[in-house]
Point group: C2
Chain length 221, copies 2
Amino acid sequence: MRGVYDVELEDIRRLLVAMAEAVRTAMRDGTTSLLTTDAELAQQVIAADALVNEDHRRVEENTYALLARQSPVASDLRLIFTALHIAADVERMGDLAKHVAKVGLRRHPSPAVPASLTSVISGMAEVADRIAAKISTVLANPDALDAATLGLDDDEMDRLNEVLFTIVLGEGWRDGVECAVDGAMLARFYERYADHAVNAGRRMYFLVTGRTLTEVDFDEE
Amino acid sequence: MRGVYDVELEDIRRLLVAMAEAVRTAMRDGTTSLLTTDAELAQQVIAADALVNEDHRRVEENTYALLARQSPVASDLRLIFTALHIAADVERMGDLAKHVAKVGLRRHPSPAVPASLTSVISGMAEVADRIAAKISTVLANPDALDAATLGLDDDEMDRLNEVLFTIVLGEGWRDGVECAVDGAMLARFYERYADHAVNAGRRMYFLVTGRTLTEVDFDEE
């Protein structure tokens, strides 16, 4: 038994998982709307982000309430702060999914992603989705998550970023400056989304098990 | 008198101001290193970011210690959480200054910013600096800060962003895809830096005065 907060912490964990699932869906749909130039789906992604922000506020309010009610012991405090960090990471993942949807919308009905970048963007979206999935599944099965697989996902995202820049800055690039800039921005959004997802996954592991994953160092913006 | 935490909160506030001053210097130096292709200065900016991260950790540790020692009343809790938010915002401002320095370094000794973008990049750096200055001065003179001036700074940053994209995506662009991509990335770094600075400034105002600034809505990533 961890302390007197188990029930309240469980509520907060459930909110975090709901947020994680929402931002996973948001990035999937954001990518689909981008690659299929589906403006209606893009608008849905943008609108749905308000719900994630609302859940973020609820996590913060539940945390205040929890702390105000009685004095927590140090180990409970660490868990509570971990929950706040996760909520902040996941909330930003939602913003990044919204940014992806907006890139598609800005050029509608022209496609924002030229054929030369479809494959690498799809690849980045897949890696982002794989890491995002880990945040919610770690609650059900914490031991399925380890630092090594998170590190591998992160390496793959870095590799795809390099691929994208090699294409865009290469001699053979024929899709113009605007598509190059959009491609670079999209690469950054997927990369940042994955960074936050990796952080949230590691912290979720700690929240559920009380154990820390072997440190993997990620650059945060 | 606000509560039993005044002394500890004062220590935290002082740490926050030190962080704010460090990241203001970092962005100034980052911009200088970028525009003058000064690799040594860029390396200093990158190295100095570790100190900001260290201060961020100290704010978090002081906060844990404060909370663990005794049960805070709700109003104290809100201030403590505000301090954590400020520390997170300012820490990310440091990361963004580091990103600016890295763009310059990646192309060294070639200049990363072509003559066609020098003026707009300088303008963005000036706005970023102006907002960053407000975070530390609000401690000495909270009433010098108001939502209207923060809103104006933010509008100016948005306008400069549009100017940059108009140049880069215009018919007259002759500086190639790589400079266009770097320019777009830099614009984003300055804009994000300013967004975090505006948030930190508003929160610092609350931390010092206990009053909330009229809400200004900013998009967070």
